[in-house]
């Protein structure tokens, strides 16, 4: 039974305002045989410096400590990979530390970086994440990923992480989705949207112009999930520069964009879904207890919380994050989000965990058209566009970099630089990718606030990273 003490429900507090000054990322791909990981990290850092009109050396001169997100040592077959990257970036002898929290590694790296600045330890830090998943064949890759489940109780069961995850999807599919064809089509729509947005993103690994039927006819991975419902396996790097106010102002004096306020909060839940025990739903600021009284009546079997259908870690990351940053209602207060769409169905589960829709009603966020850049029903801007990067399904899931990629994507919108960064013909060429003839500017007009959710495995670690234009705080 989980019951919170008063101390555990303290609203996290940063001792001083913290800013995202700039960010950058490498190309993402299933395999990048021509480059070492450190080359990809240098690509990311170089872009971060260019975006604020600095040379890499100039940018480096501000960095005081470094936070490195890299999940799977066994993929790269290199312990202390952080020390390799740190040396190749020429940042010795600064202090640095490695962070690993599965799929949430990128978000957790930002969490550590923000706290380092908030505490006053450093005025400017580097948060860099990467992953290299192309050094083993796919089935061995699946084996290595399955090592992130409990090795005695779960991993021997097929060594396939999708299976451990999909049992939760199945329960959600039957209880809250009522196993309806219409819900299955809604899930497919998410894959169509994310592969579609990836077409406009030169960094993205899996751009595809597909239909709902293409998704529904793709090979079954774990029913009802099919190949096109699943996230990618990737190689790539992403970084962010986090500063205090004074340093942020100084570093952006010649930059086309201003620094953004940043908050990161985190939650967790059992590594084995098997160990989940019942509890009351922790309420977000836009919810009340009454609205969930009849949840089990409306969705028979849905009264067990978090059961196998909710992600308590995500709920708590939002619980802490919203209160920390002053968010009352994500749908009203935020202008865009990047969510951890490991699978189409977990995307829907997350809508509920973070309060975009109440528990049981996640599908409406897609069906209403609110989640789109342009609502296909009304032709007007979507109310809260999600995963314009293409997300984990369309853009990448280079695990240690993912949460930072999402944060970078949100920032490009608030900076009003999305088209410049994603539309540059030179970049498409450099990455050896063809810019589509119907390339569309997906800038979320007037974006001032956004959030990225970084999520590990079956929900063991989740972070919420909230970004705001400092002139539009809540």
């Amino acid at each position: 039974m989980i019951k919170f003490s008063k101390q555990q429900l303290k609203i996290p507090k940063l001792m001083r305002p913290v800013y995202l000054v700039t960010a950058g990322q490498s190309k993402f791909g299933r395999a990048i045989p021509e480059k070492r990981t450190e080359e990809l990290c240098i690509d990311a850092l170089t872009q971060a410096s260019e975006l604020i009109g600095m040379s890499p050396a100039e940018l480096k001169s501000y960095i005081h400590s470094c936070y490195y997100g890299h999940f799977a040592d066994h993929f790269g077959d290199q312990l202390l990979g952080e020390a390799v990257i740190h040396d190749r970036l020429g940042l010795d002898p600064l202090g640095n530390i490695g962070v690993k929290t599965g799929g949430a590694t990128g978000g957790s790296t930002l969490w550590e970086a923000v706290k380092a600045v908030a505490s006053g330890y450093s005025d400017c830090v580097l948060a860099m994440g990467w992953e290299r998943m192309d050094e083993v064949p796919t089935d061995e890759g699946n084996f290595l990923i399955s090592c992130a489940a409990d090795k005695d109780w779960e991993s021997p069961l097929g060594h396939i992480y999708t299976g451990y995850y999909a049992v939760m999807a199945q329960r959600y599919w039957q209880i809250f989705g009522k196993a309806e064809d219409s819900f299955r089509r809604t899930l497919a729509e998410i894959a169509v949207k994310h592969h579609g947005y990836a077409r406009m993103n030169p960094y993205a690994q899996s751009p595809m112009k597909i239909t709902v039927d293409d998704v529904i006819n793709s090979p079954v991975v774990a029913y009802p999930l099919r190949a096109l419902d699943c996230c990618l396996m990737s190689v790539g790097a992403a970084c962010a520069i986090i500063c205090d106010e004074k340093t942020a102002e100084e570093m952006t004096k010649d930059s086309p964009h201003k620094p953004l306020r940043i908050w990161v909060a985190a939650g967790s839940h059992t590594l084995r879904p098997a160990d989940r025990r019942d509890m009351e739903i922790p309420l977000l600021p836009n919810e009340n207890a009454d609205q969930y009284k009849d949840l089990g009546k409306r969705f028979p079997g849905g009264d067990r919380y978090p059961g196998f259908t909710g992600f308590l870690g995500a709920r708590m990351a939002a619980w802490y994050g919203y209160r920390m940053a002053g968010v009352k209602d994500p749908l009203e207060d935020l202008d865009l989000v990047e969510l951890h769409d490991a699978f189409t169905i977990s995307d829907v589960q997350t809508y509920e965990d973070i309060g975009i829709r109440p528990y049981g009603e996640g599908r409406d966020y897609v069906e209403s058209g609110d989640c789109y850049h342009t609502n296909p029903k009304t032709g007007k801007p979507g109310k809260l566009p999600s995963n314009i990067s293409g997300g984990l399904i369309g853009c990448m899931h280079a695990v240690g970099a993912t949460g930072i990629m999402q944060t970078f994507e949100v920032a490009t919108h608030i900076w009003n630089r999305w088209a410049e960064i994603h539309g540059d013909d030179k970049r498409w060429k450099e990455f050896g990718r063809k810019k589509p003839k119907d390339w569309t500017d997906l800038q979320v007009k007037g974006a001032k606030r956004g959030m990225a959710i970084s999520h590990a495995g079956v929900g063991s670690h989740v972070t919420s990273t909230i970004l705001m234009d400092p002139d539009h705080l809540l």
Binding site: M1, P33, E34, D77, P137, D139, E140, G141, N142, F143, L144, I145, S146, D150, K151, D152, W153, E154, P156, L157, G158, H159, I160, Y161, T162, G163, Y164, A166, V167, M168, A169, Q170, R171, Q174, P219, V220, V221, A222, Y223, R272, P273, A274, D275, R276, R277, D278, G301, F308
Partner: protein, 196 residues
């Protein structure tokens, strides 16, 4: 043929016999699109880990004897005294007291239903189960948690009753020694080596 690595413990020390790793030469990786220039090398490796079950050892031993052990917090000072854990948990998650080991084979035989399931067509390397793998999560009456396992006979469905089967012949001493079948499955249909 070299001997498979084996271990026993004596006097608190590991005693090793046989080969724990096998040497395979590395090979160059070349670029077929660019004059077969060198791009990298393969790094083969085959190792055997020595893994201890610690306080969970009785659980894995019992599977091969046809028993499902769980644990219960009996700490009178624990706010949640009486919590029953399956997966077998050595210490109570709430008070961290040492749990009491309980035999819950009969509960599992009479009061176990499928909480959720997944039929998985794929597996990772080193998988030993037949595909498709039917993952099931099992809800037991009076137990606070929901065990993950696999169904060997029958089609899974939420709410269906299942009974445990145990690999009592040549057990592997892993979680794979525990499996499930739908209630009413005749003995003849059990997989090789398993019994009720």
């Amino acid at each position: 043929m070299s001997m498979i690595g084996q271990v026993f413990v004596k006097g608190g020390k590991y005693k090793l016999k046989g080969n724990f790793h096998h040497l395979t030469p590395n090979m160059p990786i070349r670029n077929a699109d660019d004059g077969w220039k060198l791009m990298g090398v393969t790094n083969p490796r085959d190792m055997t880990y020595i893994h201890m079950y610690g306080g969970e050892a009785p659980f894995f031993e019992a599977l091969g004897e046809g028993k499902l052990l769980g644990t219960r917090c009996d700490n009178p000072d624990c706010e949640y005294k009486g919590t029953v854990y399956q997966p077998f948990r050595i210490h109570c998650a709430d008070c961290l007291g040492k749990n009491t080991v309980i035999d819950m084979t009969e509960t599992a035989k009479k009061k176990a239903i499928i909480h959720t399931f997944m039929v998985c067509e794929r597996s990772g390397a080193f998988n030993l189960l037949d595909k498709p793998i039917k993952f099931i999560n099992i809800e037991f009456e009076g137990v606070d948690t929901i065990l993950m396992s696999y169904l060997s006979v029958g089609e899974p469905e939420i709410g269906k009753k299942v009974v445990p089967i145990f690999r009592t012949k040549n057990p592997t001493y892993t979680i794979l020694d525990l499996s499930w079948v739908l209630e009413g499955t005749p003995k003849e249909e059990l997989p090789e080596g398993f019994s009720f």
